[in-house]
């Protein structure tokens, strides 16, 4: 999608087809000749890994749907039927179950990489926003998928999360009733969640296509954050990026299979192997690990002036994702990569630790002490995006940057550097 294609159809039939639908040229320019920066590190293989995981989740999901029954009195046992009787059903279910976790792990690494190397900055804001939309869709999909086994956590997770919407003034209760299709979470809820859980992955796939399109328009960022300046800075996607992505994928699969084959339930909650009981809430409700930081933010909020704690929690939780969406405009630094930002770098790692800390708080039972810690971490999360990020760009002095990607890879003698070129336009006082 970058410039004209150099694709030349090899035979008459291909030529005939290409003249009518130039898909060969599109594939060729997008995945073969597409120039990728030569200095990409393994953090850049997660895009390919995520595409693979989306495909794997859709594939295992479609197959599981052939054996699953979305009816509240049968759902739990139909999952056990898959685990016990369907040929290889246990494998497909464990792949799907752990696939969700690994999908999120990869998505978070991918997002963190973007934050670290400033991949959200101009001209990649739309690319970044599409990524945030994908993340939101993934969350919705994962949440609804978790309801389907109809265990205790499924049921009470669904109850708690749908009740979030009751925080919305005036229309909240109506929205919740409409989400449920009843007066509480029940069979109608399960049915519609099943329907949407099947639909949303294909919506994700569509947004992923846009995400890749936007990527191929702007070109990839790279660890230096410096724009590609000449063909010396790039290598063709195939074979260079392809083999690197493949290696990254295989290593990722090793981790994935470790969970699937050796500890398939360790990331889940034991309570979800108890069939849903609408009259008995488990003593300790927790979402899956990938929602824990958001859950902690939700629980941390006190009453704020006229906003009741419940609404404040919901706003803070969705606001946490909104912060990510606004990053391209909150970050005032013109230097992309944290590699050349001595002040941003430590703050980045503090943010990662804060997110992990929020995850920890989200996993634990509420105590007064933990609420305070959660509030501090939540406050810091917002301060990072709303205060630190805008300020850093104004006060930070970036380190010296190489003139080009090829110079950073091959050393100073690779390209003739004209005198005075070090006065890089990205530099700020």
């Amino acid at each position: 999608m970058s410039g004209q294609s150099t694709y030349v159809p090899k035979n008459a039939l291909a030529k005939w087809f290409e003249a009518r639908l130039p898909i060969g040229g599109l594939m060729h320019s997008s995945f073969i000749a597409y120039p990728t920066p030569r200095n990409l590190n393994y953090m850049w293989t997660f895009g390919g890994i995520l595409s693979f995981m989306l495909g794997a989740q859709i594939l295992t999901g479609i197959v599981l749907a052939m054996h699953y029954t979305p009816e509240s009195s049968l759902a739990f046992n139909s999952v056990e039927h898959i685990m016990r009787d369907v040929n290889g059903g246990w494998l497909l279910r464990y792949l799907h179950l752990n696939g969700a976790s690994l999908f999120f792990a990869a998505a978070y690494i991918h997002t963190a990489r973007g934050l670290y190397y400033g991949s959200y900055k101009s001209p990649r804001e739309v690319l970044w926003l599409l990524g945030i939309i994908i993340l939101l869709l993934m969350m919705a999909t994962a949440f609804m998928g978790y309801v389907l086994p109809w265990g205790q956590m499924s049921f009470w997770g669904a109850t708690v999360i749908t009740n979030l919407f009751s925080a919305i003034p005036i229309v909240g209760d109506t929205i919740v009733t409409y989400l449920w299709g009843g007066y509480a979470v029940g069979n109608p809820t399960l049915n519609r969640f099943y329907s949407l859980h099947y639909l949303l992955p294909f919506v994700i796939a569509g947004v992923v296509a846009l995400h890749v399109w936007a990527l191929h328009v702007a070109g990839q960022n790279n660890p230096t954050g410096i724009d590609v300046k000449s063909s010396k800075d790039t290598v063709p996607f195939t074979p260079y990026a392809t083999v690197k992505d493949a290696l990254g994928l295989v290593v990722f699969l090793l981790v994935y299979c470790w969970f699937v084959f050796y500890e398939p339930n360790i990331l889940g909650d034991a309570d979800n192997y108890i069939q849903a009981n609408p009259l008995k809430t488990p003593p300790h409700i927790v979402p899956e690990w990938y929602f824990l930081p958001f859950y902690a933010i939700l629980r941390s909020m006190p009453d704020i002036f006229f906003i009741p704690a419940k609404l404040a929690g919901v706003m803070a939780m969705f606001g946490a994702i909104l912060m990510l969406a606004l990053v391209p405009w909150l970050d005032t630094s013109r230097v992309r990569s944290a590699r050349f930002r001595p002040l941003y770098r430590p703050f980045f790692w503090v943010l990662i630790l804060v997110c992990i800390g929020l995850g920890y708080i989200g996993a634990k039972e509420v105590t007064p002490g933990r609420i305070v810690v959660g509030q501090i971490l939540t406050a810091y999360y917002y301060v990072h995006f709303l205060v630190i990020l805008p300020l850093l760009g104004l006060i930070e002095t970036p380190n010296d940057m190489p003139n080009s990607i090829s110079e950073s890879v091959l050393g100073g003698n690779a390209t003739a550097v004209p005198a005075g070129a070090h006065a890089a336009p990205e530099r700020k006082g």
Binding site: R38, N77, E80, H81, M83, R84, W90, L91, Y94, V235, P239, Y240, V243, K244, A246, L247, V250, V251, L253, L254, C257, W258, V260, F261, Y262, E263, P264, N265, I266, A270, D271, Y273, I274, Q275, P283, Y360, K364, E365, T367, P368, G369, R370
Partner: protein, 310 residues
């Protein structure tokens, strides 16, 4: 707390200091969640953390012990099945590879021991018949209400996935809880369920002095969900289940509550995770394949990129 308030009138200087110290410690505990239940009436129940057992099916290469599963089935059949259903299990599963591996003939005989409701027949009536291998294990009670009525208001939980549905948190303080979680993940510690079940079955002890128990309730030092109070009476006593005898006429394993608990916990783990043996075997093959693939890809990547890193 009432104790300290009670003697407040006559306290000496030393007592005052001790009291302050204790109060401070207590406040700290409350704040950090150590003593979440300390404010409740009576002595607080602190559940015993189950001991970690060594199971044949633990670890990356662990598989079920067929003889143990057969013994465990005997306990389920003679003790548990009187109250607990196991509705996701079918008699035919008893012959599955990686399970108790009874023969087809044995399974037919074991199934026929159970009476299964079938029907309606040509007269529109439900009728009882001996179980067949294709049948699921019948429920001991026709419905939840009957089960509740017969068991003092508590429904005996279904045992199909019980061993995967039970867990416990041995540490509730930072960073031991995180360390424990990560260590479990790294060492593939996945036998919390059977550890818990076997500990629970051995956890029927004399309640500590002052612990209030209503008639029909029982004290169990492991049962955190009920704060030490469980509706189930101690189900096992030494010698209640006859084990297979060796050539010398003595049982090959001791007929004790401890051994029973372990055997039935192992059996329930198999019931909850019947494909475990095959899963690990396939996992080994997949891991070997992926490691080899990673090696090959590493060299391919190196070769391809050699041109660039000139």
């Amino acid at each position: 707390m009432t104790f300290f308030l009670g003697c407040a009138g006559t306290e000496t200087g030393t007592m005052k200091r001790v009291r302050l110290l204790l109060a401070a410690a207590m406040a700290f505990c409350c704040a950090t969640g150590f003593a979440a239940r300390a404010q409740e009436e009576g002595p607080a129940f602190v559940p015993k953390i189950p001991d970690r057992q060594s199971w044949s099916f633990a670890g990356p290469f662990g598989v079920y012990d067929t003889a143990q599963l057969q013994r465990g089935y005997k306990i389920y059949r003679e003790v548990c099945a009187n109250c607990h259903s196991m509705e996701d299990m079918h008699f035919r599963n008893l012959a599955d590879p990686g399970g108790p591996e009874f023969t087809e003939g044995q399974v037919k005989a074991l199934a026929a021991e159970f009476k299964v409701t079938d029907g309606p027949d040509d007269n529109g009536k439900m009728f009882k018949r001996p179980g067949r291998p294709a049948d699921p294990f019948p429920r001991p009670f026709p419905n939840e209400q009957t089960a509740k009525l017969a068991n003092g208001g508590a429904v005996p939980p279904d045992m199909s996935v019980l061993a995967k549905a039970r867990s416990y948190e041995p540490y509730d303080w930072f960073p031991a809880d995180i360390g424990y979680a990560l260590w479990s993940m790294l060492t593939q510690y996945q036998t919390q369920g059977p550890d818990y079940i076997s500990a629970l079955l051995q956890g029927f002890k004399k309640p500590p002095p002052g612990f209030k128990i209503e008639p029909g309730q029982n004290y169990n030092e492991v049962f955190a969900a009920g704060n030490g109070i469980i509706a189930m009476p101690p189900p096992l006593q030494d010698g209640v289940v006859q084990y297979p005898k060796g050539p010398d006429g003595k049982p090959v394993v001791p007929e004790t509550v401890e051994q029973y608990s372990k055997d039935v916990a192992a059996f329930l783990m198999w019931v909850a995770e019947p494909k475990l043996d095959y899963r690990k075997q396939l996992g080994l093959e997949v891991m070997i394949y992926l490691l080899a693939a990673a090696g090959l890809m590493y060299f391919v990547k190196k070769k391809v990129w050699a041109k660039v890193h000139a």
